[in-house]
Symmetry: C2
Subunit: 256 residues, 2 copies
């Protein structure tokens, strides 16, 4: 087998609590054929463990370490660079960063902290930035749809710190090159032998192509007709849905 797959979740495998038809069967086929794969997501709202539990409830039976999340990519980067983070994150995401050295922090990591976005925490992050610490953002999303309306996501608080300290955050997660390379590394495949499957032309497909991976854009989830033409890159291959994308890859129609 000379290819591995990175698979987006929301819009590709499921939409909310509903699976995309045929997705479960296609995942089982990958398992049966022994194709290495991982699921990749930007979310920092919950731990990988909780996300895994929700997917299991949908019927997706994969080990927890098949989920590669932006917080994990950040963790991997922190370990590689031997950085000591000040974590401005939701306390319920803490388990994903357990065991890291955090005394005398020399980097600021901002995720979806929600109620932990206090003045004190923001000010502590700011002072570290003014002392020269770099700023890492777990995504820079403006807002998301909550049950009772729109809620602020990570992005505005990252923007606040960027403005305060006159700096630019290093944003981790799709579509960053670093994120795709870390995910491919996790998979154990070189980028040129890895295919990304997702429903976001820019974030999934163009991001993966720019990092040297192949990409298949599925026409489900947030996909809208001609997205692959409006995207900021050329050469996106599309498939009707995740099942069709898997068929296409197993049949060798996408070289990688």
């Amino acid at each position: 087998m000379n290819k591995g797959l990175l698979i987006d979740l929301s819009g590709t495998i499921h939409v909310g609590k509903k699976l995309i038809p045929g997705a479960l069967e296609a995942v089982r086929r990958l398992q049966k054929e022994g194709v290495p794969f991982r699921f990749v997501t930007n979310t920092s709202r919950e731990t990988r463990a909780l996300l895994h539990q929700e997917l299991t409830e949908l019927g997706l039976e994969v080990p927890v370490d098949y989920l590669f999340t932006a917080p994990m990519a950040v963790r991997r980067y922190l370990e590689q660079e031997r950085l000591r983070p000040f974590l401005l994150i939701n306390p319920n995401l803490e388990p994903d960063f357990a065991g890291l050295t955090r005394d005398d922090p020399n980097v600021v990591v901002v995720g979806y902290a929600r109620h932990a976005f206090t003045y004190e925490n923001m000010n502590r992050a700011f002072r570290l930035l003014m002392d020269g610490a770099p700023l890492i953002a777990i995504g820079k999303t403006r807002y998301y749809q909550a049950e009772d309306g729109l809620d602020l996501d990570t992005g505005p608080f990252v923007a606040a710190l960027e403005y305060a300290a006159d700096t630019k955050a290093y944003v981790m997660g799709k579509p960053s090159r670093q994120f795709f390379l870390a995910a491919a590394d996790e998979l154990g495949c070189p980028p040129e032998e890895t295919v990304m499957i997702g429903d976001d032309a820019d974030s999934d497909a163009c991001g993966a192509l720019a990092a040297g991976l192949s990409a298949v854009l599925v026409r489900t989830g947030k996909y809208r007709p001609a997205d692959e033409e409006k995207a900021g890159c050329k050469g996106i291959v599309t498939a009707g849905d995740f099942g069709a994308a898997v068929e296409m890859i197993l049949a060798g129609e996408v070289s990688c």
Copy 2:
């Protein structure tokens, strides 16, 4: 008397808890000569009453309504436009906004809220902005010098809301034209018969000139040599200090 004075405080009348030499005497001279004047400041960290108390302790004996602050300008604007604000401010600034209608808010006002910059308050402001409410900022300062280090000021939280709702704040306070016009109006003088005295070439002098006032830049406080030449406007008159500026104006050397 055909002129009125608007006077900056920090750097012009005092630096921290120390008066600029001769400033007290010059203020007394204005009172004796019957020249109308007001002090103008951007601060939203404390009420006008508390600021007044601090100035009184320095020996400056003026009525409280001689202080024209950015929060007051905002209040005046809200009243003129019959707007119902959601106030994201420090609770101890609340008295400066007492009596305004605040049910069913249709404008967001952000000042130096400090501990009131909670996720809930930021989110409430954000939702109002997404519903079309305009955003008013009481200044957009990045940070200020606190006793134990630098502390975040109003600006970063304004930047967060601007990023979240993809909007631009209407920033009130010096150097905004609206602010100088409101202060002159408070003084009861037309802009062309009003002189601004301050130590900030851009914020005080250029701002006032752009609003149609005259301006005298004092060479105290944050003033650095050639500030009047580096400034973003032409024709700034300078004086050694506040006392010299008052002499110059009373002698009629600055036409206004």
